[in-house]
Every structure is written in C-alpha cells, then in structure tokens.
C-alpha cells in the first residue's frame, strides 16, 4: 500500500538476479563482492571490495545476501587487524534482508539475517550482529562488540536497550520485500 520510491532509470544498473546498483556508487574491487539478488546499492555508497586478504587466489571480501539495502552514502569496508605481526583484511559477511540506513559506516565481520541498521551509525571493526537485531539511528557500535539476536542497540557507545518482539523476522522480511517492490524506475 505504500507509495513507490522512484529512482531514475538511467542511474541504476539492474542485474539478472534483480540487484539494483547505482552508477553513482563507488564499487571498488567488484570481482570480490557478492550480491545475493534483489539487493539495492544506493547513490553515493562506497563498497571496498578491493581491500582483500593478502595472498594468492580469489577472495570474497564482501558478501551481501538477498533483499539487502545499502543506503545513500554508506561506507562498507572490511575489518582489518594486525595479528602476529601481519596486517590483514578480513572478509565481511552479510545475510539476507539486511537494511543499512543512509550515511552509516560498516566494518562488521558478520551481520546475520533480518538485521536493521539505522542512519548515521558507525559499526566498528569485527562487530558481530546476530539475526533479527536492530541498531537504532545514530548509534556507535565500538569494535569487537557482539549484538545478540533479537535485541535493539542504541546510543554511544551502543548498548542493549530492549528485546525485540517475537515476530521481528516476519516483519523485517515483509518490509524488505516491500521496499524492493516499491523501488521503481522512473523514465525521464
């Protein structure tokens, strides 16, 4: 019932699997990025697939599931650390039905399914966000934080606020699917 969200047809590239990627997004190292299908990469987003693990061979740096949304101006950057004297980047895994609000910076190691991240958030390095969690707008999640399933985190630093309702999974799933349906091209 919600009104459509229009985008200009010239701006977005639609792939065979239904991914919609803005031409104005910065996609570095696209060969290292996996999009699950029906995922939207908005204007101005920056996805750093070029920051790969050192070593030979093919490496997946960032993988996104189905029905994801990378909001306007988001930065997706794989986490890095120096372990036993060696500097390295580590892959970032994101599940299905994950929405990331505008202007958020994500350096998480793992984001589960049905996760909502608000606007203007900072998700610190190696953060693990479990299924159906929600990060409120303007939240700063410090590095190495674990966000348990079905919990709402907010604040600076992000802290547990409350448990989310049992039907969160269905709600988020319906919402992300609807968002994709609403995201319609407009010929100009």
């Amino acid at each position: 019932m919600e009104p459509p969200i229009y985008y200009s047809k010239a701006e977005f590239i639609e792939t065979d699997t239904g991914n919609k990627v803005s031409r104005r997004a910065t996609i570095a190292g696209p060969q290292n990025i996996i999009l699950g299908g029906k995922t939207i990469i908005s204007t101005g987003a920056i996805i750093r697939g070029d920051l790969r693990r050192t070593g030979p061979g093919h490496a997946v740096v960032i993988s996104l599931g189905r029905y994801c949304l990378v909001g306007e101006g988001c930065v997706m950057r794989p986490p890095y650390k120096t372990y036993r004297g060696n500097f390295n980047y580590y892959p970032m895994k994101i599940g299905d039905h994950v929405h990331i609000g505008a202007n958020s910076v994500v350096e998480a190691a793992q984001i589960g399914n049905h996760v909502e991240i608000g606007k203007n958030c900072v998700i610190g390095k190696f953060t693990i966000i479990k299924d159906c969690a929600k990060i409120a707008d303007n939240t700063i999640i410090p590095p190495n934080t674990v966000v348990p399933a079905l919990s709402l985190f907010a604040g600076n630093p992000g802290r547990f606020v409350e448990d989310l309702p049992e039907s969160t999974q269905e709600m988020v799933e319906a919402q992300t699917k609807q968002y994709y349906t609403r995201f319609q091209p407009l010929e100009r």
């Binding site: 009104p3 459509p4 934080t145 399933a149 699917k177």
Partner: protein, 578 residues
C-alpha cells in the same frame, strides 16, 4: 508521524471496551499488531503486559554462551568467562597484550597489540579505559574470570552477601517447602493466596521485608523485643512461627566504621573532594549505581564489571496458562517451537491518507535527479500528512487476511456502534460530553477479504494489481475516479490477493485541533469446512464466543486509528458542516 493503527488488548480494565482515544492513558491499552499474541484456548488477544513470563534459558550477550540454570545462581547472574563491561562507558572490554618493549628509535617496531606478550589487561575500545589503571593485569589471556575470582571473593561486598545468603538459607528452604504445599492446596491458605498470586514469591518477599524491617532502622538502636512483635502483627500470621526461629543477623562490618576501613564515606570523601582538579575524577551516578556495596566515588577506583546474563523467555496466557511463546533452546536461534502471535489470526490493517500519498509521490518524482537531502525530505513528509480543520479527507484502510479461509469483515466506529455491542453506552456517555471534533464515515456494510494463500507470497506481487471489482459492495456515496485512478469514496475500493482496500472519510470540524484518532471495532466472520483451520492442537470451534452456524466463527476486536494532526485554521475553507 505517519497514520497508524493499533490494536486493543483489554487486559488493563475489566470492560471489554477500549478507553476513549483522546485520553493520553489510552495508549497503554493499544499495541502494534506484531507485538500481540493470540490464545487459541481463550480465543483472545494477549499483550506483553498481561502474559506470564518464565525464563527458558540464560545466555551471555557477549560470548553467547548458554549458561546452565544451575550455575546461573552460583555466578550471580553474570558471565563467568572472559566477558567484562567497561566501568566507564559499559562497552565490552577486550583483552590486549602489553606493547613490546620500546626499541629506542622513537617509534614502535611493530604496531600496537600485535604480539602476545604478558601481562595482559582489559581495554575499552570506546573510551580507552584500561584495567592497568586500577591495577588489574593478567598473566594469560584466557580464563580471566577465574583469575579475577579470588579478588572478587575477598571483596567486602561479596563476603557480606555470602554471609547474608548463609543466614537466610534455612529460612528460604523452609518457606519454599511450605509454599510448595501452599501451591498444591491454595484454598487451604486463603491468607497467603490473598497476599499475592505466587505463594513462593510471597515467602521470599516476606523474608526480605522482615530483614529490611530489622536492619534498616539502625543496627543497634531498635529494641529487639518491639521489633519481633511488630513483625508478628504486620507480616506474620501463618509464618510468624518461622520468623521467630531466625537468629538476628549481624553484619560482618559495622557500617559506622566503614569509612575507617577504606570503603570511603565521611572524612575520606571530603578530603578527596577538596583536592579535586577535574570533574571526571568523580564517578558519575550511572557508573556507580550498578554496584550494590559502597559505591566508589572516584573514577579511578571503578572495577571492570562482569556482564549480566540475558535470558530467553517463554510466555503463557494469563487465563488458561497455555504456552503462547516457546523459544528454541539454542540461544541465538530466532525460531520458536510455539509462537501464537496475533498477526496470524487477526487481519492486519494499514491506514493511508491518499492526499498525502499523492503529494509524497509527486515530491519523490520532483526531487529525483536533484541531490537528495534526507533531512529536507523528512520535513516535507511530516507536513504532508497534516490535515486542515474544516475540511474533508478520505482515508484508505487496507485489510489483509492471514487465515487460509476468506473472511467477512464489518467495521464500525466505536461510539456509533450500539446494535451488536449494547453496553457501548457506558463508554458512549462520556463521549457525548466531549464529542470529538470530527466525524468519521466507514463502509457500513460488511465486505469480504480473500483467503491467504502461499502462492500470493511470490515476491513480485506487483503483477497481481488487477483489481477485482466485480464484487463491489454498496458503500455510501457514488464512485468517482480522479485522474490518478484512485477512487474517492466510502466503500470497498480494491481487492487483490488477500488484501481488501476500503475507503473511509473524515469530516473535520472548523474548531478542531489535536489528532484525528478514533476507536474502530473490527468484527470478522470466517467460514471453515475444516473444524480446525489454524491446524493447531488447541483449536476448538465450540470455544468461539458467538456462532452463527456450525462452521462459522466470529471474532471482534478494537483498534485505534490515528490519522495524524489537525492544523487549526483561522479562516476555514469549509465544505462541510459540524
């Protein structure tokens, strides 16, 4: 704020009718649909305020370890592994090794924390607090809790707590025994039943309050004789015998001498305050109040906190104690063994204001191509849904049917509703005194909403937009279609899949202000050939409140519809009366 529909749960009052929506307190009786549960046994809506909750498992929110309930009590509800909270900002602490010795050329040979060198300490990634500040370091990076255990166990607060626990142990054991007998024969002990729902909690509360009555008025000022008689007269009754057997508790530490033995307070604090240079040296209230014992006044005395455990909970119906929610045992699983949520039983209703939607769409088209500034767009959106006093606005209600059978729905505004709910008068009379400054018209006849079918769940239901207009039900007013194809009328506007869109209309008075908010009764009837259409073990058709036929069930519930704010007007461009 966008227009919203919330559902009524009657648990807060004895009347089945919801409170008038203009009262601020009415919001406590209404909940979003997805937060509600549905008890099949009672055929009633339940909310988080009325369900009974029990813990089904405990886990640490940081390491996600599932703590067996036996060790939960022993660990004082906190994680006994490597999880600590920063005492400064409540962030999770991480274990870091010390920096390697300086090579002497002015810069570090290898980046910080790259080599595993003892001693290890806890470090906050957010506020940069580290445990070395308070003199806590570790020889190895594992089993930190065990390494800290001996310090914790020797702390005065845990010693005192152990002593208290020891002191009350025989009493709690005795009273839990007696309460379990009370539970099995609730009628035999009317006094304890009247005390509280739960006999077990009563005994513990009684023990705690008795202890408080003894300890709070002062350690030595009170006469023990008068105390025991007063406790007998107030809380005693059937358990006063038990209480008299208790010996008097003597604390480990005399509280008046606490400041001398280094727990702060009195002269020591004054001295500290006198030499204060920076407000950050004093621990904030938030940093202090989680500590049960004498709370450290100085920031540099704060100790890392072990992370409190979280729990997964199952929920029961308060009336019939049937389980509504039962989570899977695994801590991070989001699946449920039993999940009776209202969204699977009641039709979901969404409300929209077509005039706002149209403007929004145009705005979205216009702003396209320009650099999008999110803040400005949000401002516009909120003002778009405003309604001006003295005008008439249509609104759309979309009802989607979660059942596998078609339903027939009838909508009515609460105060106009007299025929099927006769006692509406009682809520109707105060309404008369303060009539809302707007009038709502809804489709008066019932309409159908098609059954939910998995086939319609296919992702692109955009193709399903072909509206089925053949079954058009007589609504009020004629149908007139404007340029955009939207129908401006009261009645059924569109049917597709398991969603039916109906139109309503609100006439806002010239002097109106506040929100357009009204209670709406939704009653729906569903026909089923199958005696248990929900396919669950507890469904019994005979339990439904009113039966028109052998296979027809009716269920009614209240909602509150909030259409948004009315903009008061000086010179009304009225096209309506009232």
């Amino acid at each position: 704020m966008p227009p919203s529909v919330r559902y009524h749960c009657p648990c807060l009052s004895n009347s089945p009718f919801p409170p008038p929506p203009h009262l601020a307190s009415s919001s406590y009786s209404f909940h979003p649909l997805h937060e509600l549960f549905f008890c099949e046994e009672c055929d009633a809506v339940r909310c988080n305020r009325c369900v009974t909750v029990e813990v089904s498992s405990y886990y640490c929110p940081n390491c996600l370890f599932e703590v067996p309930s036996a060790s939960v009590r022993a660990e004082k509800n906190r994680c006994a592994r490597n999880c600590f909270l920063c005492p400064n900002c409540r962030n999770t602490l991480s274990v870091v090794p010390s920096d390697p010795p300086d090579s002497g050329d002015g810069r570090l040979a290898v980046p910080v924390s790259s080599l595993n060198e003892p001693p290890f300490f806890l470090y906050c990634n957010h506020c940069r607090w580290d445990s070395a500040e308070v003199g806590i370091t570790f020889e190895k990076p594992t089993g930190l809790a065990a390494q800290l255990q001996k310090f914790e166990d020797s702390a005065p607060d845990s010693l005192e707590f152990e002593r208290l626990k020891e002191h009350f142990e025989p009493f709690i054991r005795a009273s839990s025994l007696s309460s379990s007998t009370n539970l099995s024969h609730p009628a035999a002990h009317p006094s304890s039943a009247a005390h509280s729902h739960h006999a077990h909690s009563t005994s513990i509360t009684a023990a705690a309050s008795a202890a408080l009555a003894r300890e709070i008025p002062g350690v030595s000022k009170y006469n023990p004789l008068s105390r025991s008689t007063s406790s007998r007269s107030t809380t005693g009754k059937d358990r006063s015998v038990n209480k008299d057997e208790m010996t008097e508790y003597r604390s480990r530490l005399e509280i008046s001498k606490a400041s001398v033995s280094g727990s702060g307070g009195g002269e020591t604090d004054v001295e500290f305050m006198r030499h204060l240079e920076d407000i950050g040296q004093v621990a904030t209230l938030e940093q202090r109040w989680v500590n049960s014992w004498a709370t450290p006044l100085q920031t540099r005395e704060l100790k890392p906190l072990r992370i409190p455990l979280h729990s997964k909970r199952s929920k029961r119906c308060p009336a019939c104690t049937h389980i509504l929610i039962k989570p899977e045992q695994k801590a991070q699983s989001v699946r449920y063994k039993i999940k009776l949520v209202a969204a699977n039983y009641l039709p979901a209703i969404t409300v929209a204001l077509p005039h706002a939607q149209r403007l929004m769409t145009e705005l979205a088209k216009k702003s396209l191509g320009k650099s999008t500034s999110a803040a400005a767009a949000d401002d516009d959106k909120s003002s778009l849904s405003d309604m001006h006093a003295g005008k008439t606005y249509p609104f759309h209600l979309a009802l989607s049917n979660p059942l596998y059978d078609p339903i027939t729905v009838r909508l009515s505004v609460q105060r106009m509703h007299v025929s099927t709910a006769p006692s509406t008068k009682e809520s109707g009379s105060p309404e008369k005194a303060r009539r809302p400054p707007f009038a709502v018209s809804l489709p008066t006849s019932s309409f159908s909403v098609a059954a939910f079918a998995e086939a319609w769940e296919y992702e692109d239901d955009e193709d399903m937009f072909g509206a089925d207009d053949s079954e058009d039900l007589p609504g009020r007013g004629g149908r007139e279609t404007d340029a955009k194809g939207k129908v401006r009328t009261v009645g059924v506007l569109e049917k597709r899949a398991n969603v039916t869109l109906v139109g309503g209309e609100v006439v806002i008075g010239k002097e109106a202000r506040g929100n357009v908010k009204f209670n709406m009764l939704v009653s729906y009837t569903y026909r089923s050939d199958d005696p248990s259409p929900e396919g669950n073990e507890a469904d019994e058709p005979s339990k439904s409140p009113s039966k028109a036929g052998p296979e027809v069930k009716t269920f009614a519930f209240y909602t509150v519809v909030d259409l948004g704010q009315i903009i008061p007007r000086e010179e009304p461009k009225a096209d309506s009366e009232l």
